[in-house]
Amino acid sequence: MMEDLGIREAMATITGQALLHALGVIIVASLVMLVIQKLFPRVAEKLGGKPRLYLLASVPLLRLVIILATIVVVVPILVKPSFENMVAIFGALALALGFAFKDYANSLIAGIVTLYEMPYRPGDWIEVEGQYGEVRAINTRAAEIVTPDDTVVIIPHNKLWNSLIANDNDGTDNLMCVTDFYLEANHDISQVRELLREVAFTSPRTKTWQPVRVIVFNKPWGMHYRLKAYPYDPKEQFQFISELTARGAEELARQGVRFVSVPVTAG
């Protein structure tokens, strides 16, 4: 089999010195990647807004560049870069990946597609199969997200092929928050809409240049209001929703508008 593919001929030129040389290049590249993966997120944490997002997004791209550069440097060190040798090596590699590491290769390829299509980037707030959190890192095989409860969830990139991925801010620092209010019927709807709009406008966390909207639905049990606004920082979303809920509830109570309550059945 090896002879058929011409692997033996291709490998015949590999010497101990060449192996050491290649190993040295790989170690240096790995160290550079490690430094980038550790340092950039730390620096990004200290920056706010767009610089933070740009810096985080550059990590996987830089890693891809380093990996490609390493391959380009290492392969000619080990084998003579002739057409036959290249076909032999990459053919064998494709066979090995296709049979032995199918899922792993699938994730690797999806990881490269992720960098190109960018369905999510570090700093994005995404939901995949019910897991919501901020993308902390995009590794070679999987992405790491941190949930609001500080749990790290590893999401293999191959989820990209067949899962729905919801991205709340899509590479920007604009993340819409929706605050729900479930109110009993029989009140002045326009007054409540105006009041909720003001609740958002008077929050110090609101990005006032983005739209603030109040949507209302008529439900069998009463009225469902949805207050939509943007916090100044996506990381503030939970504080923002909490604040809007608390202040909105307080003011609605002052206006005599009551919340619906659902009876709880014990057992």
Binding site: D173, F201, Y232
Partner: protein
Amino acid sequence: MKDKTRGNQGDPCLPGGLIPAEQWTLPEASVRRSLKDAVRHALTQLKAVSRAEEPFESMDELPELSAGQQRRLAPEPDYARQAEAIACNLQHARSEGALSRKVTCLVAPPFSGLQQALGWLSQPGQSVLNDDGAVWTVITPPETLLFSEQEAKAWWDKQDVSRPWVIPELADFWLRCLSGLALVRELFRRIASDAVGPGIVGCSSWCWRYWEHYLEGTHMSPWTPAPLDSERLGQWLTYLASGHDRAPVIARMADDGLYVLPVAEADSTGKNKRQKKRKRSSFLRDLAGESRGNPGVALAIWQRSLRARPEEDASPDEDDEKAGRQGRSVDCWVVPLKRLSLPTIPQSKTSVMGFVLHGLLLHNGLDVASLEVVTGVPAYKLSLVLSRLERAEIVRCDQVDERWHLTPIGYPTVRRHLQSWGFPVDPF
């Protein structure tokens, strides 16, 4: 009184005159300076360079200006004259048909001096009259700003806005809380429905930005003082130091001796051809860029950058008087911007600092109780943050009304930080 028939585009106390706000453009700074600023800002955020560690070549060999010298070389503007210039500009714009509304909104960034100038319009003895020859009535804010809709209507009913009126600073009429919006909302309702007489509403650009978004769909077409680019800035600083009757100030860079003042245009009128060939520094261009064309901020940085000639420092007051009497030119030295130690924002992991700074800018300064209302931050936390900011020379407390304000010299870094943190910022 000034000749009101001509526009005051050339009035040195208001260089460039008033322009529609949408025509405002940011003065250009040199590319080198812009890059340096960007790097410095990023490093500041990373705490890579703290104020204490910052490489700073001392300028101790050049003594700072005495109070008397500062009053003469970089004095505060004459707001009464500025008020006259504003009134003349408005009248000129109206006569040309550029202004058609009864109420004119004048928007300017903080420290531009607009509020102080508009406050002078109604001062006794002022020669500034409105189109009908009557004196302006200044509308002052009420003690408390928390009003219901009905109370706000009743309050405005009591104000005499049928005769020409002026609000020097709209930011003093509201608080960013549910019951703090009614007064301004009612005012805009009356303006939009033409229920008031001729008037001028002065407004901080931060406050205006907020209300522009709040009252979406309302177009007030505000006007603003033209930004001070390097040329206007040079004319204005020369005017402040020299007035009309004294010889122009000569200011040179402390590091390379290049000329900052007088500006090229004024200098070319001189008889001496050698003066025309003077090599000029890019300091004014960088100062215009650093201050974003804001006169108050530019003046604060200018005051900090001036140094006296050592031989003059021996008896400064005596020398000042002598110079004033003789009307001769006075030399001073200018420290380059890169060697000036300007305030930096203390590092903080919480959002409180951003809330405080943004709240102060929206409301043109606040006392601690009002700051607590608009930020939702408890008073004890506010005190800690405010004292940190005060030590960093970013804010100061007015001892008379106990209101906290930003300092003009700290404003550029505050604006830059608020923008990078994602807060809504003004367009100027």
